[in-house]
């Protein structure tokens, strides 16, 4: 990459790049022409415009900016774990230009004022689009429906009680009907707690061997099944969060074949790691849903490959080192993921031959854009110029000291991964660059 500029100009060309769009990567090198933060033109071969400043990114892949449908930025209330600003920094470093923040903050994002608050914090940070999901129920208590309409007006793009399932089926049905009315998805943390109980890891051989209480797969399968039947009845858009079981993948696949309005996401850790990682009782591998069996890991990867699972979402869930040093059964659920997501995808899906690179990039861009109904993720002419430069063969080691968020609770610390994000641009502006000195 040639970086001779002091600032990113208002109009410029990025040349020598292989464009990734529509699930494919162009064989020939091409260019992107950015003007006033928007896509002016793009294509293979030489750019038609002349006399513009040029960013020569020889051989890198230019992809639409990544979109994460599921992050926890912890603000307001748990700023010691993450803030919208620190989370945005991690997002940019991971190639993300758009994130959907979960409402399980303190207080819960369950009214238009708090929706605005999160959006404002995101604009202040200015590193990615922060789109808040509002809570389905007031205080995420699973009792009364929150004012979804007012929150949509304030800028909420989805609704969920994530962190907790909506146990009351009637409330879930109402949420799906309102979501349908308002044109937004209801994101389901699908977990039947009457089945899962007080488990702290996947219920299987390893939980038995380690003497830890297990969470049965049936708890996720049953909850996904219920929500899909409610979606069928209501016509509302159900988005299933962090799919982790073979059973859930199968149920969603059948539902899609039936024409039900359902989409789904899966996390990098669920398509890469299995429950044996818990063998040393390290809470770095504790999250909900938990790491499952090898056949679940394979089923999630297959689901991404055949489109049953629409997109990759990180479920980026920062926790302080103090909390994550507790005993396994006492430590909180959750792992971070923004900065490793692309590399885990390359290392575990592309290198393993389950997806090609073009499909992987689509799982981070146009597919989540479709889930959210956003005019992003495909670099159409005139669209806002959110894009990312990628080196799919670059290797790096995940090091806690070089992560950009506030917390270090990653499953992949110390791991050697392949796939680097070299630079991230939002609305034509640089938000992240892998090598110093960075431009502003």
């Amino acid at each position: 990459m040639e970086w001779s500029w002091q600032r990113i100009p208002a109009e410029y060309l990025v040349t020598g790049v292989k464009l990734a769009r529509g699930g494919k990567i162009a064989a020939r090198k091409g260019y992107l022409h950015v003007k006033k933060g928007r896509v002016e033109a793009l294509g293979v071969g030489k750019p038609t415009a002349e006399g513009l400043p040029v960013l020569e990114a020889d051989g890198l892949i230019l992809a639409p900016g990544f979109i994460d449908t599921h992050v926890h930025f912890r603000e307001p209330g748990e700023e010691e774990k993450e803030t919208v600003a620190t989370g945005s920094r991690a997002a940019a470093a991971g190639g993300f230009t758009t994130v959907v923040t979960m409402p399980n903050t303190d207080p819960t994002i369950d009214n238009p004022g708090l929706v605005r608050y999160v959006i404002d914090r995101g604009n202040e940070a200015g590193l990615c689009r922060v789109l808040p999901a509002g809570a389905v129920s007031i205080g995420r208590q699973g009792q009364g429906l929150a004012e979804l309409g007012a929150m949509v007006e304030a800028g909420a793009r989805a609704f969920t009680d994530d962190g907790s399932p909506i146990e009351n089926g009637k409330l879930m049905a109402a949420a799906l009907k309102y979501g349908n009315l308002l044109g937004v998805p209801i994101m389901s943390h699908a977990e039947d707690r009457s089945i899962v109980g007080s488990g702290c890891m996947h219920g299987g051989y390893w939980s038995t061997r380690l003497g830890l209480t297990g969470m049965a797969r049936a708890g996720e399968d049953a909850a996904v099944f219920r929500d899909i039947e409610l979606a069928r009845a209501s016509g509302g858009h159900l988005h299933v969060c962090h799919v982790s079981t073979r059973g859930a993948v199968d149920i969603i696949r059948r539902a899609k074949a039936d024409g039900i309005n359902v989409t789904a996401e899966a996390t990098p850790h669920h398509f890469s790691l299995d429950h044996s990682r818990c063998r040393d009782y390290s809470p770095r591998f504790k999250m909900n849903p938990p790491l499952r069996e090898t056949d679940d890991v394979a089923a999630v990867a297959d689901g991404l490959a055949d489109g049953t699972i629409d997109c990759i979402a990180t479920d980026h869930a920062p926790h302080t080192a103090t909390e994550k040093e507790l005993q396994f059964d006492q430590a909180p659920f959750g792992v971070i993921g923004l900065e490793t997501a692309f590399a885990v995808g390359v290392t575990y899906l592309v290198e393993e031959g389950r997806l090609d690179l073009g499909q992987l990039i689509a799982c981070f861009s146009e597919r989540p854009a479709r889930v959210l109904g956003l005019p992003l993720g495909s670099l159409e002419d005139g669209a806002e110029a959110d894009f990312v430069l990628l080196d799919p063969s670059g290797e790096w080691t995940v090091d806690a000291t070089t992560l950009h968020g506030r917390s270090e609770n990653s499953c992949f610390l110390g791991d050697r991964l392949r796939g680097r994000v070299m630079a991230t641009f939002m609305r034509g502006r640089l938000t992240w660059r892998a090598t110093e000195p960075s431009l502003t």
Binding site: Y205, R209, G211, L212, T213, E325, Q327
Partner: protein
């Protein structure tokens, strides 16, 4: 040969040779019990901390007795008196203990993996006195010692463990240790308490009590944790007793030489009938005595004790 390890956290990572060494040393210490003076000055001037973060009576007393018979200085702290009730984390407790330069830690904790965690933070030897539902290696060793005394070489011997296998650290330590010595282990109990996947640990899963005990050389009957409450994992104490209780009737179906063990404390007429608990086929009090000996052996070996020195008469 001596014990080349810092800690004893479980039987999962102990070799057959190590287990047999501990049993050998323990049997020599047992000989000391019959002398008028039952202590030996091996641990004089060394401090052992007994950290019990979960209620325990017999294991704690057994460890204390073992430590006293080795002439160690003992500090006890338990959950009721420690600052844990004030919200201190395990890490802080560990760092405090490390700063105080103790010579050995014995830990009982409700969280599986807690002993392993402490062993990583502390430079001194750590003995796991039971961590959650994971392992209880000294109980496993005393059980195996009790079997070994009666059956000799454990290869091919059939041991049936009955009860709440899912929540039992005693079961796991028995399984690991007995497998190392070549015994054939069967686990039995209602399916709510015996997960089928435990077969991958190298045991036979049998839900029918009659079949599970028919060929057994030993029954190890686990305590049913009544505090977990009937109605979830089992309908009632009576129902459990009817289906899985070790009664005179069950004992009559055993091989003539087979015997019955129980780690205590017993729920009479739940997992074991009073007739069996007090009858001629049980070896429960022998387990108790072996417990002290096994703990003496471990403390001795982990503090650098030389098995050869003991053989030449230091203890005897």
């Amino acid at each position: 040969m001596s014990l080349q390890r810092k800690d004893v956290l479980g039987l999962e990572d102990m070799s057959a040779e190590e287990i047999l060494l501990v049993l050998d040393i323990a049997s020599r210490f047992r000989a000391v019990f019959d002398r008028p003076v039952r202590s030996v000055p091996i641990m004089r001037g060394r401090t052992v901390v007994n950290f019990f973060h979960e209620p325990s009576t017999r294991t704690r007393i057994s460890f204390e007795l073992a430590e006293k018979r080795l002439s160690a200085d003992i500090v006890n702290f338990s959950v009721a008196t420690s600052s844990f009730s004030k919200g201190e984390t395990l890490r802080d407790t560990a760092e405090n203990l490390a700063a105080m330069k103790i010579d050995m830690l014995v830990v009982r904790h409700g969280s599986s993996g807690a002993a392993q965690y402490l062993s990583r933070v502390l430079a001194c030897p750590v003995i796991n006195a039971g961590d959650g539902c994971h392992e209880h290696p000294t109980q496993g060793l005393l059980d195996i010692m009790t079997m070994h005394q009666r059956l000799g070489d454990m290869r091919g011997k059939k041991v049936t463990i009955i009860g709440d296998i899912a929540h039992s650290r005693v079961a796991r330590s028995n399984i690991w240790g007995l497998n190392k010595l070549g015994a054939e282990v069967t686990v039995c109990g209602p399916p709510t308490m015996v997960p089928g996947n435990i077969a991958r640990m190298g045991v036979t899963v049998e839900y029918d009590l009659k079949k599970a005990v028919a060929q057994a050389d030993v029954l190890n009957v686990l305590r049913i944790q009544l505090e977990r409450g009937a109605g979830g994992d089992f309908p009632s104490n009576r129902e459990y007793h009817r289906m899985y209780g070790i009664t005179e009737d069950v004992v009559r179906g055993l091989k003539p030489e087979a015997f019955v063990m129980h780690p205590g404390p017993m729920n009479r007429n739940v997992e074991i009938s009073s007739e069996v608990a007090d009858g001629p086929r049980q070896v429960i009090l022998d387990q108790v005595a072996n417990g002290v000996a096994v703990r003496m052996a471990l403390i001795y070996l982990l503090s650098g004790g030389d098995p050869g020195a003991l053989a030449s008469g230091e203890a005897a």
